[in-house]
């Protein structure tokens, strides 16, 4: 084995400049492939960060003013959801919906205070099931539960950002905050993985409506479906739309009166785009490597021609055709693998640096993580790139090796 390497190395050393120049094209090809793949995954990670924290098959439903007259009612009418709508959805789509939660935003002047600290934060009444739709990472305590809803308990859940604003280093669990002057006990803290700075408080839906005169009104609704495909989710979305349209006498295509954000559809669309980008990146990368292969192959053919006499001598003193093929092939594989490995490491290194810089930017509260984040080519990609390299070396060396093996010693030795 060492002998074998020595044989390769001595011949490569003899043509060091040529070996380096040849290797460069391959190294460059792999470098570009890794860079492109990394950029692709960076864009994709950025996109996926936008969807993080929300159930992938969630439907977000909100209401507005009607745009068109329908059923004898004029346009511009305000649509208001109530508990009845939620109950209707639960009943009609029992087979399609996993979780439902009504939502009630407390808009405007409900200041939240704790001792001398105070601030205005987003306040939302939700139901226990909401945790399956808008997933958050619980840091301390618990989420809102059924007894909270049933008994109109005055409890609150706050994001870490709110906790920092009001409590500083103190633990908020069991302490009372005032929301619009009404005391609420803090039972948990959480962090929204897609937006760590979100200043958000969750209160039980029933309590918030009772305290702040919401009666049975719902601001918005959120459901998560059991759909696995976009088409299925779309069907449920359409079903919900027509049910609600009927209940509120709204034209079924009035998207201002009834708004539904289909997460899965948008997620899949974005995913589709990124699958396309990834394919594109691979095609370009492979083409670049192909150019490298042709270069290596070219050089090897010249090399074999120059070494005709040497190969003839080797054959005369007992080199088998296979050993001649091996000589040429292994040189080619050696050049491509070493050069490719250098390109690979350089590419991965650059990605790691960029990734770290981006993480630093994200840690400073930059929104970069939503656009371009963690642009890494994973090990799977690196290994497949290596496999491609070895294959590339074999392909590049194949034709020259065949030529070398076909050299007739007699002719080679008479070739002065």
């Amino acid at each position: 084995m060492i002998d074998y390497l020595q044989e390769i190395l001595t011949t490569l050393q003899k043509n060091r400049l040529r070996a380096i120049m040849t290797g460069f094209s391959v190294a460059w090809g792999i470098f570009m492939l890794i860079l492109l793949l990394g950029s692709g995954s960076g864009l994709q990670n950025g996109m996926e960060n936008n969807f993080k924290g929300t159930s992938k098959n969630a439907l977000w439903i909100w209401s507005g003013n009607t745009q068109v007259a329908h059923g004898g009612l004029k346009a511009g009418r305000r649509i208001q959801f109530t508990d009845a709508d939620m109950k209707a959805l639960e009943k009609t789509f029992a087979d399609d919906i996993d979780h439902v939660s009504g939502r009630f935003h407390l808009w405007g002047n409900a200041a939240v205070t704790y001792q001398k600290e105070y601030g205005n934060f987003s306040l939302e009444g939700v139901m226990p099931d909401f945790k399956h739709i808008q997933t958050v990472e619980m840091k301390e305590g618990r989420y809102i539960n059924e007894p909270d809803i049933r008994d109109f308990r005055k409890v609150a859940l706050m994001s870490v950002a709110v906790q920092k604003a009001l409590f500083k280093e103190e633990t908020p669990l069991g302490k009372y905050i005032r929301v619009g002057g009404v005391p609420f006990m803090v039972v948990g803290t959480f962090e929204n993985p897609s937006n760590k700075d979100e200043k958000q408080l969750y209160l039980p839906l029933s309590t918030i409506r009772k305290v702040f005169n919401g009666s049975n009104k719902l601001g918005e609704m959120a459901v998560s479906t059991n759909a696995l495909t976009v088409a299925e989710n779309k069907r449920i979305e359409e079903g919900i739309r027509s049910t609600l349209a009927q209940r509120h006498h709204v034209a079924p295509d009035d998207k201002q009166a009834l708004g539904i954000w289909n997460t899965l559809e948008h997620f899949k669309q974005a995913q589709g785009i990124f699958a396309g980008i990834r394919l594109f990146v691979w095609v370009i990368g492979i083409m670049t490597i192909l150019a490298g292969i042709v270069g290596v192959s070219n050089i090897m053919i010249i090399l074999v021609k120059e070494r005709t006499k040497e190969i003839g001598i080797r054959k005369a003193i007992g080199a088998t055709p296979w050993s001649v093929i091996r000589l040429v092939l292994s040189e080619s594989v050696f050049i491509t693998t070493i050069a490719g490995f250098i390109g690979l490491v350089a590419g991965m290194g650059l990605l790691a640096i960029v990734s770290n810089v981006l993480k630093g930017m994200a840690a400073q509260g930059n929104d970069i993580e939503r656009q371009f984040f963690n642009p890494s080519a994973d090990w799977g990609v690196a290994i497949s790139a290596l496999v491609i390299l070895v294959l590339a070396g074999l392909i590049a060396g194949y034709i020259p090796a065949r030529r070398a093996a076909a050299i007739k010693p007699i002719e080679a030795l008479h070739d002065e």
């Binding site: 011949t11 003899k14 003193i317």
Partner: protein
């Protein structure tokens, strides 16, 4: 079993030249005993190079038979032929044919590489052979740093290292001056004396004179021994023709 190292019977070889075939060997019979030192002479175009290539299993033949060390060499695969060359044959060429980027020791050791001998052992053996040929001090020199005679001695060492049964030398002194030629012939004689058979292709009568036997080739046939004058006459005619 016979004591012949080479037994050639009615050997024919022709080359395909597109439209026509060039009949180079037209029925050659040779019998070389083990330990013999034989020279093959003939003008260019007489077929001696072709014969040497066939004897060296560098080329195949059309009909007849060729036994090397009592083994029939017949349409061998390339791999098998390579093994045969490696085990039974040593080659010495007019133009030395050393590998230019390997030093003397590595050149000598190369046949052992193809036998799978490890590096340390084959280099050690190579040094022994170089020493025997008086080139120990030149072991680390590249061929380009050696004189013609030294290069040919390296080539001889390379031919000897695999301990072949037979050495095939193609004009071994063709590129050397007469004094160096004599030295090389001295070496070849002593090699032969150690029991290795030898076939030398040459057109130098002085070289041929130092072998046990001369085989004269003319126009693809062996000139019978009984008619040396005819052969000489014909060769003179051939030489003066162009």
């Amino acid at each position: 079993m016979s004591d012949s190292i080479i037994q050639v019977k009615n050997l024919h070889k022709s080359y395909d030249m597109g439209q026509s075939a060039l009949h180079v060997l037209k029925g050659i019979d040779i019998d070389i005993k083990e330990g013999e030192m034989v020279s093959i002479m003939g003008s260019s175009g007489s077929g001696k190079s072709t014969l040497l290539n066939i004897l060296g299993i560098l080329d195949n033949y059309d009909s007849g038979s060729y036994h090397l060390n009592n083994i029939l060499v017949r349409s061998m695969g390339e791999t098998e032929a390579a093994r045969f060359r490696n085990r039974y044959l040593g080659f010495i060429f007019q133009s030395f044919n050393l590998i230019s980027f390997k030093n003397a020791m590595e050149n000598v050791a190369l046949p052992l590489y193809y036998q799978g001998v490890n590096r340390k052992k084959r280099n050690q053996l190579a040094l022994e052979y170089l020493e025997r040929l008086g080139l120990l001090n030149w072991a680390n020199h590249l061929p380009s740093e050696l004189s013609g005679g030294q290069r040919q001695r390296v080539a001889i060492a390379r031919a000897l290292i695999s301990q072949p049964k037979l050495i095939l030398a193609d004009e071994p002194t063709g590129a050397l001056d007469s004094q160096t030629s004599n030295e090389v012939m001295d070496i070849l004689e002593s090699v032969n004396a150690s029991g290795i058979s030898m076939i030398i292709v040459t057109h130098e009568p002085k070289v041929a004179a130092r072998t046990h036997r001369v085989i004269r080739l003319s126009d693809g046939l062996i000139v019978p021994n009984g008619q040396p004058h005819t052969q000489e006459a014909s060769s003179i005619v051939q030489e003066t023709k162009p």
